[in-house]
Symmetry: D2
Subunit: 436 residues, 4 copies
């Protein structure tokens, strides 16, 4: 099967979107120009399990320009932009993606990717990578049954042997891969793209920071000025969300955090810190970004004010106890697109955005292209790096020099010049004898 998308006639619309994304992804375009000349991925099959957005499309075109055969599947059942999927399929990319996949469709997509015997995996949340590990370690469950429906006669041993390496985009995914590594079960080298400065310092903070609020506004049209906002988690995502909440005029910005150093940093950054049990009582809008399960549980929800709005900005839809909410609610109805009202037994109503899935991808358009330009420049360089270098099986950070190269390209494309060290200054930095 070549591709399976919603509707190929959407391709023209998708090409327009890709055009606009490319206008805002100059770093990736610069890399693409080099890839076209050097063909560093010639002979490789790259399986990209990513949110199928216009920005991913620009990355995919870059990988293809580098000589790779590219297979694209979604990393989330709800985040595919069908127009982009159509445009890529028409350009000869192997795509298996549409918005609103069932769980079965979703794992069928992974099977589809595996049927191509990829040599490089690009992952966002580690679902593709985990599946390969389950397959090889013989852990059979329902999801794997779905995978096998489309994978064809895949030989797990041969598949793993052929893998040059993979990349992982998210913190959540890297946590899972390090757990595998610790358990002695990791099967091939992985570049933790999220540990590149030009990725995690930028897309989590500035990208999610903005696009989360974009999603909240589109879903609710609420005024943020004067509201009490509760942010669960003060990692890079959480601090981006908190920073923009303040920038939009929120009255109280309350951070819920388990790590004392991060909690203290939140305090000194000018935010309130308290446990969710307390925050639940005062919040108007709650946003989770913990990478953990049930950051908002039923106990918290029962304490909330009538009218509270809940959204999740973390990778998986486990941070808010949606299942619990479904179970206890005495009534539920859709209010607006992506906004559902649950009436609790205590008579209060809470509003859940996008079923508790990634709010910026469900209710808005994900990260702006400009930050994905940085993240995907890292992805492209990481794919090239695992192909060019024979790495031992481990989880790696991309070399600092590549990281700085991405920053340098970005500044250059923005027309920004930076300071250069003088020779005297370079020497000074490495000396130890100079005194007061």
């Amino acid at each position: 099967m070549e591709s399976r998308v919603k509707d190929l006639s959407l391709a023209e619309k998708g090409r327009e979107q890709l055009y606009w994304a490319e206008r805002n992804m100059p770093v990736l375009l610069e890399i693409r120009r080099r890839f076209e000349r050097e063909k560093p991925l010639a002979g490789q099959t790259v399986a990209a399990c990513l949110h199928v957005t216009k920005e991913t499309g620009v990355l995919v075109r870059t990988l293809a320009a580098g000589g790779a055969r590219v297979v694209v599947i979604p990393s989330n059942p709800l985040s595919t932009q069908d127009e982009v999927a159509a445009a890529l399929a028409q350009e000869g990319i192997h795509v298996y993606a549409w918005r609103g996949m069932s769980e079965r469709d979703y794992y069928n997509a992974i099977g589809f990717a595996l049927s191509f015997q990829p040599t490089v995996t690009l992952d966002d949340g580690a679902d593709l990578t985990s599946t390969i590990h389950k397959l090889r370690h013989g852990i059979r469950d329902k999801t794997l049954d779905y995978v096998m429906e489309t994978a064809g006669s895949v030989d797990a041993e041969k598949l793993v042997a052929g893998l040059r390496g993979g990349t992982e985009e998210t913190t959540t995914g890297v946590l899972r891969l390090r757990a595998l590594k610790s358990a002695g079960k990791l099967l091939y080298p992985i570049i933790a793209v999220n540990e590149s400065y030009t990725k995690y310092l930028f897309d989590n903070r500035y990208g999610t920071g903005q696009s989360t609020w974009d999603g909240v506004l589109r879903a609710t049209n609420l005024l943020i000025a004067g509201k009490n906002v509760v942010v669960a988690g003060y990692g890079w995502v959480g601090r981006g969300i908190a920073m923009r909440a303040r920038g939009l005029g929120a009255r109280r910005v309350i951070v819920v955090e388990v790590d004392p150093v991060r909690a203290l940093e939140a305090v000194f950054d000018g935010f309130e810190v308290m446990p969710m049990d307390e925050a639940a009582k005062v919040g108007d809008i709650f946003i989770t970004a913990t990478g953990n399960i049930r950051a908002i549980n039923l106990g918290h929800i029962f304490k909330m004010k009538d009218g509270a709005v809940l959204a999740n900005a973390g990778h998986f839809n486990v941070e808010i106890d949606v299942a619990g909410l479904e179970r206890v609610a005495v009534a539920k109805r859709q209010i607006r697109q992506y906004l559902e009202e649950y009436t609790l037994p205590n008579g209060r109503r809470v509003y859940l955005i996008g079923e508790g899935r990634l709010v910026n991808l469900v209710a808005a358009e994900g990260h702006p292209s400009e930050v994905m330009d940085l993240s995907f420049a890292n992805q492209a360089l990481a794919a090239e790096y695992v192909v060019k270098n024979k790495l031992a099986i481990d989880v790696y950070k991309l070399p600092d020099e590549l990281d700085r190269e991405v920053a340098r390209l970005k500044l250059k494309t923005m027309g920004i010049e930076i300071e250069e060290l003088t020779e005297e200054q370079r020497q000074y930095l490495t000396s130890w004898e100079l005194g007061t």
Copy 2:
């Protein structure tokens, strides 16, 4: 010699200042209570080469409470608070410090410290540690001559043999020590206190961020709103200064930086980035925080507008080319305390704060006690750590657990409660099989 200070009759005034500092350093007080019980430093001689401020006084009292004999000398010739020095001397601490020391006095103080045969060194800028290294490696210069005037018959080999370890407070100092380590010349283990999160994330950013502006305001009484502020260096100090410049209403906040990743972060944080050659033309107030030499050189100064104000927030007074300025100025006069006007050959006047020395220590009172509480809690725990553990010769970061302990104590003393992980959440964080 027991102590040498400006005037012992200032002691009462010093005790008042220590009282106020202690009110705002609850973490250190908590550690002091434990030290009083456990006496972990019994039998040790601690030489503390630090800015002799009220906060340092609280640390010194804590070390003494832990059983140590403590010697205090300044880490900067201009930063000693004479009242505090008097109060400490009166309490039986060995102090050799006064405000406005000559270069000779300054190195005499180091000699004084060495005469006590310290077993632990606490350093801020690595002048004490460097001196020990010069002494042992036989590098003789003028400063060492001064040291020997007061050191007595110090046996360098025996001195080094007796050293359990040291600590270093600043980035600048750690750079020097890592250079020593690289050169294979480091003589004893050092804890880079600056690498503790609860130190570098807090005192550089929030402490220097605020106190630098406090210094600028005291020295100039200028209105920051509407001004163009140029910050050289976007490390933790620089970003604190830039953040507060914005918070005080600066019109343009321009960052000058050599590292592309940091420069890009400055851009996304909402600051302008350009080389100093360009920034020089538009700035009203210039503040250096690069840890490097001549971040502002004569070429830059000649491009500045009439009325430009220059200050340094970096550890050493090398960041602005003060010597060059002295050389070329056609006139110089003092305008206010800590503010000197230089008339350039081009007729323009620039204003230098505190001779280009650390603006927050010279023109204000250094870091507020609350941040020094964190930094010095790390110093106290580091001193205990090097005594309790036999470390190999290297530069270390304090263990994360101690770091978190400092944050936990701080939050507790502020009356702030944080979230706790549930057992389910703890497990989730270590699992890898959960999927989308």
Copy 3:
């Protein structure tokens, strides 16, 4: 005729929207509860010529609860939400409104309203009020011909005699009414709702400030962090936009303003100020809010960088010279919904949002309900006020006490308590003899 709307079957969808709006308009609901008890509008016929949106629907229901017979017609041919019109019609309100009316339809609607012999008029732009004046003063034109097609046998003298008063929402409308007053031709008392603090201090600044950026994000999905934003006009709208640009992380926020006092305020608020000729060269995103014509003209557009984005937040689509742009562009194409690319003769491309029409209404959803709650609470109280008081013929500001009452209700519904003056304090404020 009872009502004329697009499609009555949209009513259910409209009720959902009204439900969500009511959740966020608690002040109006509180007033409605009182109106239900007191029926202050019993016997009155209110003709409301407003944008037919979900928020207007909540106002209309409030007036009806107060005992009025309500007739709803649009104040703009393009702004009607057909679902809301349907829902209101089904509830027994007399509605004559659909999206995309012709000029004839639009004035037919006014005639429809007049056929009910209104005793109170609510207006937004003064089209209804002007028509009544033309009718009475015998000024016949094409629009009046349209009006007469649906007005039935209206007796102008009797109509005017029956009018208790009217309200006007916009500055533009108030200007027209004051001109009538000056000419001695005003026929009945009018409350200028826009002069209430709880209207103009809030909806222009916080409402447009947020919704303008909501519109820009929906139209472009650009990252604001790191961008240079140019805001033309520093009135309440402009300062809201500039404030939020900073809050979203813009690198440079440049204000273009003709009034020196406002310009100076922008400078002290931490923004750059320069003429558009200079700003044109450095801006990435341009937003106009001047209330004036050609704030961005062709000369400015030719100076812009490739990729510049243009949007208008002012009432009329005259602030950007769209006609000029259409004339000189060598190519034009739609990139996304509400975003068009123009290629200039110099090869650069600029991007225009929503044809230069009000960006927050075209590309987003206009003001959030929370700010309309304040504006329309003023409308409801103004309608009650003209009925309860026999006012002389003039243009009035709502009494301060009612203004404060709106603020008081808003705070109460947000659960916020404020300070009360003590008797001693009340006296102090009116005394003049107390000295230093």
Copy 4:
């Protein structure tokens, strides 16, 4: 008597300060150059009852340059900069001022001023103006007894007859004068300088906003980041203080306000609002700016946390109940200059800055010169205006054109160019025929 100051030998030091102030007051210098040519105040005696600071010195020199005989007395017993007083006295100005005056000294100074039979009064808090009114209306009290000790044989009727007009700098003062006007007792025309945009929009907000924090930092050296700050009053002063508290990283910024419209504005500006009774329990730092008595009373103080810091930014020292605090405290001691510790019967300690007097003048240097440049440019133009125009007895705002002139001069001296209206735009703004 010519002058009475602390020490004439401080004059050289004072001249240095005046030099620095003049560098930062270019608008006043520009006006001075015109005054020198035009001598608009020739033959007038100006009594200036102002804080005797370096900025006032620049104003005084400007008035003298305009041909006036100038008498300078303080508007606060603690705010005189003795060096400046000395310098002015040496230049032939009649000065009666020193830091730390008793109540008797303070009113003696007013008597001194009256002995010169002023024709114009410049006032800051209306003490001089009130005294003249008491004198003429025959209201005799203790303060008037002090006044008479130095006034000589002053004929109240003749004095008032000779007065061309006066100016008043503060909101508080204007309140008192409007009360006099309402009571039909105002005796001569007053320009409420505080109602000029270039005064009240700037010095209250940006000047006091910054200098209040400057005062708090000098008095306490506390870290603002992480603190809970309570601001009483959300007028222009209060909003400046709240804005800068946020800019310095305060955790919670809580506004206490009696007016619901202002309270609502604070909420939408992103601040918490609550009554002082609630705020008292959570605040770390309290600052009053209400213009009212006992904004912080004993009941509030008893609810405060151990360690709370209190300061006043309002004109009079009545906003904090200092007398009550003195009465109930079980112990009191000075901790630092301008900082006193009170131990309450409940064992908690609160810290009062500068005896509850104007914190920015007592503990810092008052407004930066740049904002006083605007305020005093208005004062100078107002003095000229009352001399040139024969005004009826009332309280006036300075004409808008003079206001804009001040802004224009300021922008020019900052090198900032603003936009100019085109002819087309000018016409558009005055047209009324354009419709929907």
